[in-house]
């Protein structure tokens, strides 16, 4: 079966159902960006998306989110003002509340996942001031004036991040539960590579480097803080490689024998 960029070409001009139109209108996706958005879906129909977004999100979404939230009395309240996905937030909360719980339980940002709550899986990975960190081991109280990016803030409006489109194309997830963490991690990884940061697999850390071109094993090592129980690792690596190099690859290809550089 021949591979094409968007494996099953989606006819962006095709007629959409009223539901689909309504959803895209709702999301504010019009004109050219609508075409682009559909293209990014990599041939995926909007059908299920519409149904699920309508059924899952709208029916139950907090219409008034944290504004209507009555904080239960807590013993050591702290007030924290910080930025989440570009929006200023100010919360009064229990000093014990982790950033992960604040995002999920107070700000309705449930994309970041709690896989272990102890720093051992990476599912809660978010980006704070440009660096990937674990939200489950970060006290919200320590986030005063910081800028937090979660999975919900990775796409620029309707423009998916290259990592997100590559994840869809390379099927870099199965159940999808680790995916928000993987994507936040991968987005930050791209910057780390640009900065020339070393990893344990870097052959000679003394060598000064500019932007790095990462080998597959380098990607593997640098992504090892994000566990995936479904075992999507090879596809995660393929997706990151594609976004990192900018070279499109066939998600179905059988590998050439490649030489690994791991000196583990």
């Amino acid at each position: 079966m021949a591979f094409e960029e968007n494996d099953v070409a989606l006819d962006a001009d095709q007629q959409m159902t009223a539901d689909e139109e309504a959803l895209l209108d709702e999301l504010g996706i019009f004109g050219e960006s609508r075409r682009k958005f559909l293209g990014q879906l990599g041939g995926v129909g909007l059908g299920a998306l519409v149904l699920q977004v309508l059924a899952e999100e709208k029916a139950l979404a907090f219409s008034d989110s944290e504004t209507a939230y009555v904080a239960p009395a807590v013993e050591n309240p702290v007030t924290v003002s910080f930025t989440v996905n570009g929006a200023k937030k100010s919360l009064e909360l229990d000093s014990r509340m982790t950033l992960l719980d604040a995002l999920r339980e107070r700000l309705g940002l449930t994309g970041s996942k709690k896989g272990c709550d102890h720093g051992q899986c990476g599912a809660c990975t978010v980006i704070i001031d440009g660096r990937r960190v674990l939200a489950c081991l970060t006290l919200t109280a320590q986030c005063e004036a910081k800028s937090v990016t979660t999975i919900e803030g990775i796409a620029k409006g309707t423009d998916l991040h290259a990592i997100q489109t590559a994840f869809i194309k390379h099927d870099a997830f199965q159940c999808g539960f680790c995916t928000p963490g993987q994507i936040c991690s991968a987005v930050a990884l791209m910057q780390e590579a640009k900065n020339g940061e070393a990893s344990y697999l870097t052959a000679n850390v003394r060598q000064k480097t500019g932007a790095l071109q990462l080998s597959d094993d380098e990607i593997r090592e640098r992504m090892s803080g994000n566990l995936c129980r479904c075992g999507a690792y090879p596809n995660i690596v393929a997706a990151i490689r594609e976004a990192h190099t900018g070279k499109a690859t066939d998600p179905m290809a059988i590998s050439q024998m490649e030489v690994h550089d791991a000196t583990v």
Partner: protein, 706 residues
């Protein structure tokens, strides 16, 4: 355009992909429910005995605490399931370490967790069985399990010239789906809604309804996305019951997630197995006898046995064989199904022993397997519906570069590493289970959209997508005109995503519904067609803008006449650091004959996932119980090592094209389970080829290769 709709089998990206890469997919704990309270479970710190007292006074006074529920004040519920239902606070008995003894509800999660620590439980200890080494001595044949016997094993084995007699051990393993088990429970009068990710929507509904004495339709399960299950989300474990109970007690919605630490003794496990293999063959390489005796444990309250020996009954042409089981009751949480239940652990033993036999005979292990290929299923004398073992072996050998393998160990090197190649074959049965589908069609002019609705589940297998593909192709609609609604108990009942029955059960039912709709529409009009009409034309002819139909599909009657399995071959190239003993799966090849592949992309991913699971089984995963108390000392993700990204090298996947007309109408065999079968053996065999060390005790950690 007709060509647009040939989508079955294509490598189409998941239709739920966008939701998953943007964080919009809702898993069990993600639903924005108002006014929730948070629950936290307290666990027993003894393995057997009784609770003599629970002091909850301090906890009750703790800030934010709304209720503390113990066996003294728990809502009466029915013990609904001897496997999953132990620990619903109905009495003071303790059967295993880490059994639920209390659940505490507070305004915030922090308050609940903090208060839980102040609950003091006093126990009367009873004798406990927590040492596998001691318990195996008392193991007996389970009541419902006779030996599977063919020919005269003892005579043939004793008389044979070439034999292997070895024992293989596999440890306790935990499923550890990335999404811990959880539920948000919301009562409205006597009706209960549970937002809870599950592999079997109907199973959880029935379990909970039984427990609370409700009619199934009073319990509504919502589970569109499941963060992995691997067997552990097959039914209602105690956490779901306790969430519902807590919500009832505090009369408001309750959120309850099992902590990762508590996943070790809350939602089942794969039990420890000790497998004794005896293999005999002629000098020419024909198997003459095969004995496979498994000793394992089960919990004190429920008999559960993994069928480790099942492959020994049907994988090879061997005239004399005997396969048996012994089981010992232990004070451990109930074992349950885990990916490739029986076949995965069983294939480690069987396929290692086959490798040992081939080595003893100085035969190539691929050839040895091909030489002993059975013409039919000798365990029941049924013909195979199809069997691709030989093609899998041949194709895999080509893909891995089997010719680079040296028959003798320690002949291949690369720097500090010894390089080795290993092979194993495997299989897993194929079945279709009853599944109903509701199909709704809506038409505006020439434009038809379909909504396909069934209480199926998508645990990462790609069910959403293959259901859409089936409907799109059968109805002749583009994918974007098909909406899929699953994961909701209000929808028509469907099989679970368990035992690799999902794809066959869902897709055959969906195809039936679509075909039935076309037939019914045709019957409503007497218009004749020169070329097959589109659904739009049919609806137009019948003057309908909306139409719906429902089927209750089940396996074809003839399917039982055949032995239907998916078959595979795994090939592994490992690099073993000669000094440190660290093993790396450098490259792994999995070739599978699984009938019709519904989506080449998601199928490939599932097989890759199976390989990664096999890597974990072979190299990293082990739950260790302290025999003194029965507690797990590997009680976190830092101690229980599921493979990390760097553990996994290149994985290449291929499918042997198969058109199986007997297994079910669409010829689907299922791939989720077979994907793990044989992987650990291929790796262990490769480690032997690399190092000359035969590790019969998984996992192969560095210390075992020094």
């Amino acid at each position: 355009m007709a060509s647009d709709t040939k989508v079955i089998g294509e490598a189409i990206s998941r239709i739920d992909g966008l939701l998953k890469v943007t964080g919009a997919a809702n898993y069990g704990m993600d639903w924005p429910i108002r006014n929730v309270a948070y629950a936290f479970i307290v666990k027993s710190t003894i393995a057997a005995g009784t609770i003599t007292d629970i002091d909850t006074a301090a906890a009750e006074k703790s800030p934010g605490v709304i209720a503390v529920i113990t066996h003294k004040n728990a809502t009466k519920v029915v013990a609904y399931d001897p496997m999953r239902g132990i620990g619903i606070l109905q009495d003071n008995k303790i059967n295993f370490y880490g059994q639920n003894v209390a659940v505490l509800v507070a305004e915030t999660f922090e308050q609940a967790r903090a208060a839980a620590r102040s609950i003091k439980v006093s126990y009367q200890n009873a004798d406990s069985k927590t040492d596998f080494e001691k318990c195996v001595a008392e193991a007996v044949r389970p009541a419902n399990r006779n030996d599977a016997v063919r020919g005269d094993f003892d005579a043939a084995f004793n008389a044979a010239e070439h034999k292997v007699d070895a024992t293989y051990s596999t440890p306790i393993e935990h499923h550890h789906p990335m999404e811990p088990h959880s539920a948000i429970a919301v009562w409205e009068g006597d009706n209960l809604t549970l937002y809870s990710a599950t592999q079997v929507v109907g199973g959880v509904q029935r379990g909970v309804a039984t427990a609370f004495g409700l009619k199934p339709e009073q319990v509504h399960i919502i589970s569109p996305h499941v963060g992995g299950g691997f067997g552990s989300k097959g039914g209602a474990w105690t956490n779901v019951i306790l969430a519902a109970m807590a919500a009832k007690v505090v009369n408001r919605p309750v959120k309850l997630a099992v902590t990762r630490q508590n996943m070790f003794n809350s939602v089942g496990l794969r039990q420890q197995n000790r497998q004794h293999l005896r293999v005999a063959a002629t000098a020419e390489g024909k198997l003459s006898a095969l004995g496979h005796d498994t000793t394992q444990f089960t919990t004190t309250t429920n008999e559960f046995a993994e069928s480790c020996g099942i492959l020994a009954t049907m994988m090879y042409e061997v005239p004399n064989s005997r396969v048996g089981y012994k089981s010992a009751a232990m004070n451990v949480i109930a074992p349950t199904f885990q990916r490739g239940p029986g076949e995965s652990t069983g294939s480690f033993a069987l396929e290692s022993a086959i490798d040992e036999m081939a080595y003893a005979l100085k035969m190539d292990p691929v050839e040895f397997r091909i030489k002993n290929e059975p013409p039919k299923d000798l365990s029941n004398n049924k013909p195979w519906s199809s069997r691709a073992t030989v093609e899998c072996l041949k194709r895999g050998a080509e893909m891995i570069g089997w010719k680079n393998r040296k028959p003798e160990p320690r002949q291949n090197r690369n720097g500090d590493n010894l390089v080795g190649y290993g092979v194993a074959s495997g299989s897993y049965p194929s079945r279709q289970s009853p599944t109903s589908t509701l199909l709704k069609l809506a038409r505006k002019g020439d434009d038809v959209t379909a909504s396909v609705e069934l209480a199926a589940s998508d645990i990462g297998t790609g069910a959403h997508t293959i259901i859409a593909q089936t409907a799109a192709e059968t109805l002749g609609l583009p994918m974007s005109k098909v909406a899929v609604k699953i994961g909701d108990s209000a929808l028509p009942p469907a099989a679970g995503s368990v035992g690799s029955i999902g794809a066959a059960s869902f897709c055959n039912s969906v195809a039936d519904a679509c075909n039935q709709a076309k037939t019914e529409l045709q019957a409503k009009t007497d218009r004749k067609w020169l070329i097959a009409p589109t659904v739009a034309q049919l609806m137009d002819a019948a003057s309908l803008n909306e139409y719906q139909t429902r089927v209750d599909a089940k396996a074809p009657a003839d399917a039982a006449k055949y032995s239907s399995h998916a078959f595979n071959a795994n090939f592994s190239e490992v690099w073993v650091n000669e000094l440190t003993g660290m093993v790396r799966v450098h490259r792994h090849v999995a070739v599978t004959g699984a009938g019709r592949i519904m989506n080449a992309k998601t199928a490939r991913s599932q097989v890759i996932g199976g390989c990664v699971w096999g890597i974990g089984m072979a190299l990293t995963e082990e739950s260790i119980m302290d025999p003194r108390w029965g507690n797990f000392i590997t009680r976190s993700f830092a101690d229980y090592h599921i493979p990390a990204n760097l553990d996994v090298g290149t994985i290449d996947v291929a499918f042997i094209p198969e058109e199986d007309q007997f297994v079910n109408k669409l010829g689907i065999k299922g791939i989720g389970e077979v994907g793990i079968v044989g992987v650990a053996a291929a790796i262990a065999n490769a480690v032997f080829n690399a190092t000359g060390k035969r590790v019969r005790d998984l996992p192969i950690t560095p210390d075992k290769l020094l």
